[in-house]
Symmetry: C2
């Protein structure tokens, strides 16, 4: 996000706090911010916009302290993959003179850390904002302009709806990918070497997703528990039905199911959501 803001010249002053000295070293090499510090109090007292970009669990731990140090009239947002649980948590200590506008850019790769970023990450991707009904409309417009300024399209929806949509399009796909890669690694009859050599048959796409940050995803699953469990249960029901069709040689049921899923791919390609572009900055 810092790279994108720099590239599009969207901030007068950009300051980053990171607890990792390694990450701060990389950030200094990249020259993507005016200030790089290990103490958020150094930077949030004067900031017009504070962006929390930690795992969701940490966000809840530091939220109250962050809010207490922000200046009057400022806006607080975040980029977490879950929204309802965090919004509920922040309600307890939010100040009337600060605009809370939770956010979630639907963009990213399996790589984490400052070196893995690239300024074009948000280009043509959607960013979801989930403000409550009483949000300061000027603050909302300003944050929306920032996301649009770095290439995103912005959608506004309520936090509960965000969580069920993302459970379907992101959280459960990640849980399934983590599971399948683990299942493959535990097969006695298939070696690690087999899995690597023959991964081009479909498996490698799952390993890409299952290489995402473990701590972040642990927090996502625990904090969107209801949404994730509902979609997982439906998925297991549907998988069991296809399993039954295979066991009983019911080719018609399989054919019908496989034919209907092909269409949605075309819509995703048409909507330009099929790949992260450009390719540089990603693993080579």
């Amino acid at each position: 996000m810092a790279r994108a803001i720099r590239a599009h010249n969207m901030a007068e002053r950009l300051s980053i706090m990171d607890i990792s000295s390694e990450a701060r070293g990389v950030l200094r090499t990249l020259d993507v911010a005016d200030d790089i510090t290990d103490e958020y109090k150094d930077i949030i007292t004067t900031a017009d916009l504070v962006v929390l970009a930690t795992p969701p669990g940490i966000m809840k731990q530091i939220g109250s302290d962050v809010v207490s140090h922000m200046k009057s009239g400022a806006t607080l947002t975040d980029v977490a993959s879950i929204k309802l649980d965090i919004a509920k948590h922040f309600t307890a200590f939010m100040r009337d003179d600060i605009a809370l506008i939770p956010g979630h850019p639907i963009a990213g790769t399996e790589n984490s850390g400052p070196a893995a970023g690239f300024a074009e990450l948000f280009q043509d991707r959607w960013c979801i904002l989930t403000p409550d009904d009483h949000v300061n409309s000027q603050a909302l417009e300003k944050l929306q302009s920032l996301w649009e300024g770095i290439g995103s399209q912005v959608a506004i929806m309520d936090a509960a709806r965000h969580d069920v949509v993302l459970a379907t399009t992101s959280h459960v796909p990640h849980l399934i990918a983590y599971t399948l890669v683990g299942t493959a690694m535990d097969m006695e009859t298939v070696t690690r070497n087999d899995v690597v050599k023959y991964s081009a048959g479909g498996f490698r796409d799952f390993t890409r997703i299952a290489a995402s940050d473990p701590q972040m995803w642990r927090d996502v699953f625990l904090q969107n528990k209801d949404g994730v469990l509902e979609v997982v249960d439906r998925f297991i029901e549907d998988l069991s039905a296809l399993k039954r069709a295979i066991r009983w040689d019911d080719g018609d049921t399989l054919m019908e199911h496989f034919s209907k899923t092909r269409d949605i791919r075309r819509h995703i390609v048409d909507a330009g959501q099929d790949t992260d572009k450009p390719d540089f900055g990603r693993e080579s």
Copy 2:
């Protein structure tokens, strides 16, 4: 395969039979073969090598007739994703003067038809051959040279082992992707439009896999039933364990599981199996 053979000049004469007049039209435009016909008897009677590239179900229907028309001393191979069931089927009518060497290149995209091919598809990918113990060693060497000549690495293993390895690295990943895309399409609370817009969160990788040819995959699941059902059952067990960890807020179990799957990705990237290259010829 025809494009690759042409590009590497690996055949004196290359003839293609396709029942689809549309496919034959595309093949003529592409100019990838010396002969293009709708009748396999026209070409297999003089061929040194016959490559069957139909869905597995069709392969079993035409196998006996194909074998009866081949010339003495020729080799018969295929490119199907399952091996044991087909090998068993062919045993009944194989001739001693023909070398049967089943094959499976672990390469491909979600797109099908002659227009979706590209000569570099097999570059640095593995091709598995599953001959039986009595195979003519000269014929095997010749077929191996062909695959190596178009860029592949060749692995030789028995058909049963192929089927359980591929159930893990290809068949079950496809079944899971088809299932999840279907589950998402059936959610009452998530619209088709939501799924398309927010697919960059992980879902789009599943739609890519679930856009593969339905008829081919129906045949694969029915003909590798034992391998597929075993891996699916283990997968459901593992998913249920993670589901339970989420329900009971057991973050340690999730963290442990998610951390161990990250490593395999690095091995796949190191082995050059992480992506199909080059990008041209694929959907844009």
